[in-house]
């Protein structure tokens, strides 16, 4: 190009307006992330939203945490012991723990935090049925006294997904658990900058310079939490194509959940990498209503479970076979309690066997209502494919389209289908939520406490209680297998298989942690 005076002047005038990656943005080590959702509230105990849980991991620390093999490891705790009768547990906090306001973390803070968590979280509530008192014996020693031995105490307080028992200052932790906390003062590796929070757009975290990481290597939620960037910005972008374009242009560094259809494009884009970090994936589920016909008939439920082909469901919902696989276990395949117990009742899928079961059930063409959440593409596809499977075996199916918020209120209805009731709704859970019979909401079979669907089965409840009391991994595996067999017998939900959501990132981003949950410590941006 020939340079003349006019070109130079035009270039000089245009220069401030031209875009370059990162131009006009804060200097220094800033990790710009597109999170999977918008952070709408900052209380990870008040809500089970995954994005609030991820916020919790940035800001707070926990007593124990799951490592990369999904085994509990001490995190804020230095050492711990249990009494000979298994009813008194003492935990000594490690040195150097302090909150973002500079105050030291005490056992009283931990006790108040556990109590609040125990009032909201399902595993916490169960654990607290065995808890007599939780108190600080001294500033650094937490004591939990039980009314009976509880084998899953450590597993419960080490749980990896919502609600995680994050430790907050006592004054904040004493907030009514049904009311949101107003400030996010934690002792985790990053400080939340509330004044810079723009809901629907931007969340800012800054490195907590006084955080004392553990000495052990980083592993899952456990080990050293090393904040390697000065600042992490969550830039919520609702449109997936815009997310993809922003990553390709280098305006963001990391895209937490890349939709399956965009992954091949990003995989070929220069300077961008695609990877699955979640070792166990997420599990699809079609929940039955046990109170309303025709799904109040166990044989009808079993027939539907037999008719559904996970491969067809996942092909429609996810598309790319690299990102899904079939799994006959209700505990995610690859997780410690994976089992095939009872799977032969409904696997392999068979339309003929399902038709036979439906005939045995005495099904006479009653309308079957499936709720379809059109604003959640994966779940929406689940509803359509399961609906087709039901039609294939001769059922009269009515798939009703609505948004997820409508489903959350509609599914609470216990009325018959012609009065606004329902028979099935689809959803999915990250594997970290389904690791055991206590954290898996679909397995609660006490109708006063159950998730919508309301199965009533004392045997399943007894088996879950037996799991809670089981000591050691072998006993837990056996108890978990018994629970699975019973859950398939009574048909709590259709298992729709496992799918994975890859992350996308610029090739100068390093240090991602393989885990069912997204963490941002250990991540850094290196020079090319």
């Amino acid at each position: 190009m020939k340079l003349n005076r006019r070109t130079v002047v035009a270039g000089a005038l245009a220069a401030p307006f031209l875009a370059r990656p990162g131009f006009g943005q804060a200097k220094g080590s800033v990790l710009r992330v597109i999170p999977h959702a918008d952070l709408k509230n900052i209380d990870p105990i008040w809500t089970t939203a995954y994005i609030s849980r991820n916020h919790g991991y940035m800001v707070y620390d926990a007593l124990f945490a799951m490592d990369g093999s999904l085994k509990p490891q001490p995190q804020m705790v230095d050492k711990w012991e249990t009494s000979a009768d298994g009813k008194t547990w003492t935990f000594v906090l490690r040195d150097g723990l302090s909150f973002h306001d500079g105050k030291p973390v005490t056992a009283a803070d931990c006790a108040a935090s556990l109590v609040r968590w125990g009032k909201r979280d399902a595993m916490g509530q169960l654990m607290f049925t065995a808890v007599d008192t939780v108190s600080g014996r001294d500033a650094k020693t937490l004591e939990i006294k039980l009314t009976r031995p509880y084998g899953l105490l450590i597993d419960s307080i080490a749980k990896i997904s919502s609600n995680v028992p994050f430790i907050m200052p006592k004054a904040i932790a004493e907030t009514d658990p049904f009311k949101q906390i107003e400030s996010a003062v934690g002792s985790g590796p990053f400080i939340f900058r509330k004044e810079q929070w723009v809901p629907g757009s931007k969340v800012v975290y800054e490195k907590f310079k006084d955080y004392v990481p553990r000495k052990e290597a980083t592993s899952g939620a456990a080990g050293a939490k090393l904040a390697k960037v000065d600042r992490v910005e969550w830039l919520y972008i609702p449109d997936p194509t815009t997310c993809m374009n922003a990553l390709m242009s280098g305006e963001v560094d990391y895209y937490e959940q890349v939709p399956g259809d965009l992954a091949p494009i990003l995989a070929k884009a220069p300077g961008v990498k695609i990877e699955v970090l979640d070792p166990i994936g997420s599990q699809g589920m079609m929940r039955f209503n046990h109170l309303v016909g025709p799904t109040n008939n166990p044989l009808v439920r079993r027939a539907i479970m037999h008719a559904v082909n996970q491969k067809e469901v996942l092909a429609a919902a996810v598309g790319n076979p690299d990102y899904y696989h079939e799994c006959e276990s209700i505990y995610p395949c690859g997780s410690p309690l994976e089992t095939k117990a009872g799977a032969d009742l409904v696997f392999p899928p068979s339309i003929d066997a399902a038709k036979k079961l439906l005939k045995e059930a005495g099904y006479k063409g009653e309308k079957t209502v499936i709720l379809q959440p059109t604003d959640i593409p994966v779940s929406s596809a689940f509803a359509l494919v399961v609906g087709k499977a039901c039609r294939d075996i001769g059922m009269n199916v009515d798939v009703q389209a609505m948004d997820w918020s409508s489903i959350t209120s509609r599914r609470a209805k216990k009325d018959p289908v012609d009065q606004g009731g329902w028979n099935m709704f689809p959803t999915w859970w990250i594997g970290g939520d389904l690791l055991n019979p206590l954290s898996n909401a679909s397995l609660v079979a006490d109708p006063t406490k159950a998730w919508p669907g309301w199965p009533t089965d004392q045997k399943l409840e007894d088996l879950r209680a037996a799991f809670a009391a089981a000591n050691g991994i072998d006993a837990q595996k056996k108890a978990a297998a018994d629970v699975q067999r019973r859950s398939i017998e009574i048909g709590t939900a259709v298992n729709l298989g496992i799918f994975f959501v890859p992350v996308g990132y610029r090739d100068n981003v390093k240090g991602m942690i393989p885990s069912p949950v997204q963490f941002f410590w250990n991540m850094e941006k290196v020079s090319a």
């Binding site: 401030p16 307006f17 031209l18 875009a19 370059r20 131009f23 006009g24 918008d38 709408k40 509230n41 008040w46 809500t47 089970t48 939203a49 909201r120 979280d121 399902a122 919502s162 009514d176 049904f178 009311k179 949101q180 107003e182 723009v198 809901p199 629907g200 757009s201 931007k202 830039l235 972008i237 609702p238 449109d239 194509t241 815009t242 374009n245 922003a246 390709m248 242009s249 305006e251 604003d375 609505m402 948004d403 997820w404 918020s405 409508s406 959350t408 209120s409 509609r410 609470a412 959803t427 859970w429 909401a441 006063t448 406490k449 998730w451």
Partner: protein, 313 residues
Amino acid sequence: MLTFILKRALSTIPVMGVVALTVFLLLRLSPGDPASVIAGDYATAEQIAKIRTQLGLDQPIFIQFAHWLGDLMRGDLGVSIFSNLPVTTLIGQRIEPTLMLALTTIVFSVVVAVPLGVLAAWKAHTWVDRAVMVFAVVGFSVPVFVMGYFLIYGFALGLHWFPVQGYRSPFSEPGQFVSHITLPTLALSAIYIALIARITRASVLEVLEEDYIRTARAKGQAEIKVLLRHALGNAAVPIVTVIGLGVAFLIGGVVVTESVFNIPGLGRLVVDAILKRDYPIIQGLILFFSFLYIALNLVIDIAYTVLDPRIRY
């Protein structure tokens, strides 16, 4: 005139009252429950009930309405159920990007569309006229998100002239503001350029047939003066009406552009709130939009009197 303005200002009160009541009732009677969304999948019916109580959603609808109206009278639009932040704060955070996008779009549209429309009318039934009308049809027909992605692929990812997404404030980063607002403005302007150009053409064409235009030409006035002073001046009322309505539609209807270019404006705020059933935000924003519509209509009515001295209230 002052009496007219006062009367119109007072008439907004019952209109806003009806809007407030309608919005409130529609939201409460439509399916969806924020307490269930908040409680999550593990919650028991008892826990959901506790959250409903905390949020005041267990009270009879008329009591909820009375509380909301009472707060409204004090200028308090309430607090978001999910973020716990005041609705006024949330609107304050989001209003600038939306207003700026609306402003740049309408200014750009007017600057391009009015001359195009006048040109098309002046050269009516020639290739120039047809070219402008073809452009107008294309502008109407291409959805804004298609236009947006087309511009992004061409000018952001291809030529790297502009960023893909985001917003910067003109008050703190004027250069970056221009860089970030250019593509959204171009994408959103297409339809308004088409609309305003067509209306301008039709209005000017009608005026060009009038006796006073013939008289002006007979007096030997320059054609440009005839067009701009006599024709455009007298054709201005319908054009201003369309521009005014365009501004009103822009403020309430930029959600697609805001999504494609990731502009954190009011359109996205209202869509997010509807999906989550965040009642205070939805109510506050719809009231706000209604107020804007009424205010803009008033401004348009006043503009008529300036543009056409025959109009008096």
